[in-house]
């Protein structure tokens, strides 16, 4: 029974990782942009929600709702005025710029909010659980997982059912030809990053409800998010969920053997998947 519990907890943890990764997956899939500041953007989102909660006395969920449009605009502007200028065949400019952004953001948060660890206000929901036979699953992790699935379903709808989604895919395939179709790649990219930051806000909500955060906690999560995106396959959103789950389950299984192996097992699972499938589990047919 312990094994079943371990795997279930791993799957739920995978949901959290997938949520961290979904925004990254969107940006990486559409623009091949390696955003090293993604983790810090999540932390920034958490602070924004916290600010709304303390200033307006809102519930965190409502505050996240208000934070979303703000974060969208921020992402839009970030891409339009900064990141678009780094795109190209060379992966170094985006790497360096987002690294610069990452340390600038971390330290700006530190100056503004101090190093104290914070948490979004919690209520009974945080520690509530549902009993499934002998196994007790937290309501919050279940909610996190459900949100991850919802985000991915939502993104898939957007991608495959709307005109904007068509433009996303076309621009991602070939930005030059897309511009010949009257699409402004710069705006498409900005919109994509805007949407990514909306997802970041959702991730930030669960990050802040789940445990403490402080300005420096971002980068530690980034690597899992990247792993989830890469083993899922570039541009595959469901792949990102599967990738998150693989890392989550690998971690809990490793920990069940010995907590020393917890994080290591996640990384090793990542390396093993790439060893067998260097382009991830669900790569695009073309690239």
């Amino acid at each position: 029974m312990i094994w079943v519990d371990t795997i279930l907890q791993g799957i739920l943890l995978g949901g959290l990782y997938a949520l961290f990764a979904a925004g990254l997956s969107l940006v990486f899939g559409i623009m091949r942009l390696v955003n090293l500041a993604h983790g810090d953007l999540i932390v920034m989102g958490a602070y924004l929600i916290l600010l709304l909660v303390t200033l307006l006395g809102l519930s965190p969920f409502l505050a996240a709702l208000i934070a979303m449009p703000v974060m969208f605009l921020l992402g839009w502007a970030l891409q339009k005025f900064l990141l678009n200028r780094t795109l190209g065949d060379d992966i170094l400019p985006p790497l360096l710029v987002t690294f610069g952004l990452s340390i600038a953001l971390q330290n700006a948060l530190l100056e503004t909010f101090s190093a104290d660890s914070q948490r979004l206000p919690t209520d009974a929901l945080t520690t509530a659980s549902v009993q499934m036979g002998p196994i007790s699953l937290g309501v919050m992790p279940l909610l996190t997982f459900a949100s991850a699935v919802a985000v991915i379903v939502g993104l898939n709808q957007l991608f495959y059912r709307t005109e904007l989604g068509r433009a996303f895919r076309a621009t991602s395939d070939d930005a030059t030809t897309a511009s010949l179709m009257g699409i402004k790649p710069a705006n498409i990219f900005a919109t994509a990053t805007g949407i990514a930051l909306v997802i970041v806000t959702i991730a930030a909500l669960y990050l802040g409800l789940r445990a403490n955060f402080d300005p420096n906690i971002g980068p530690a999560r980034l690597i899992y998010a990247f792993e989830a995106v890469i083993i899922g396959g570039l541009g595959s959103l469901w792949g990102t969920l599967v990738g998150g789950i693989i890392i989550g389950v690998a971690q809990t299984l490793g920990a069940a053997i010995n907590p020393e192996w917890q994080i290591l097992s996640g990384h090793i699972a990542f390396l093993l998947v790439l060893l067998v499938r260097p382009r991830g589990l669900f790569p695009r047919a073309h690239d």
Partner: protein, 235 residues
């Protein structure tokens, strides 16, 4: 009055200069052909007009306005659509989605809709849900043309639409040209196949090494003159 013209158009790829002051012009409802050997700069000329390569504002004029410095999407919005060399379909999109992308962000309706494009190329209706890249070369070319038409352009730039196609298929494709003209669009065709070009065009420009070396109506040009313009000749 000319509908679209270029004045002293130049283009560079990094250090390499591909066009050296090209002047062409053509009018409403006219079809012109641009011919020239491999690497003469035909594609570069098309890309400059379409705004993929940017230029001085006054290097390209369209309908009286200077559009040389505009980005591709805005030039497209003004009514200049391009069928790019090598088809360039979006592999992530189905045939129908590839066609629909031509209408992106435009409410304006016109002669060309999904239905009329399917009428022009009936085979596409059957294959509309397959990924664009799973089609044969000729069918892909039809999608590429249809995609450009979906924006109801006033000028259609066609870059080597016969490239890599069997003669039969080429005939099929060129059969569509009169219908497109009839719908009111002016057309620029880039071709390596001289015979084909001469057959459809009202006027012909011949390019070599980034310069226009000859122009005129098909009837007025001798084989000899074209040959010289194509390959250069002793002075």
């Amino acid at each position: 009055m000319s509908l679209l013209s270029t004045q002293n158009l130049v283009a560079h790829y990094g250090d390499f200069q591909a066009l050296f002051g090209v002047d062409i012009e053509f009018g409403e409802a006219e079809t012109i052909a641009i011919i020239g050997a491999n690497g003469a700069g035909k594609t570069t000329l098309m890309r400059s007009i379409a705004g993929v390569l940017s230029n001085h504002a006054n290097a390209v004029r369209f309908d009286g306005a200077e559009i040389g410095a505009l980005p591709a999407d805005e030039i497209m919005a003004q009514g200049v659509a391009m069928v790019p060399e090598g088809r360039k379909l979006f592999p992530s999109l189905s045939v129908e989605e590839n066609l629909l992308i031509g209408t992106y962000g435009r409410k304006k309706s016109g002669q060309w809709t999904l239905d009329t494009v399917y009428e022009l190329f009936p085979i596409l209706r059957e294959r509309r849900h397959t990924p664009g890249t799973a089609l044969s070369g000729g069918q892909q070319q039809m999608v590429a043309i249809g995609r450009a038409l979906m924006s109801n352009p006033r000028v259609l730039l066609c870059d080597e639409i016969s490239l890599g196609l069997a003669p039969v298929v080429i005939k099929d494709i060129y059969k569509a040209v009169p219908a497109i003209k009839a719908a009111g669009a002016s057309i620029i065709v880039v071709e390596q196949d001289i015979a084909q070009a001469l057959a459809v065009a009202d006027r012909v420009y011949c390019m070599m090494e980034g310069r226009v070396t000859l122009s005129g109506t098909p009837g007025s040009l001798s084989r000899e003159a074209i040959h010289n313009a194509y390959f250069g000749a002793h002075q």
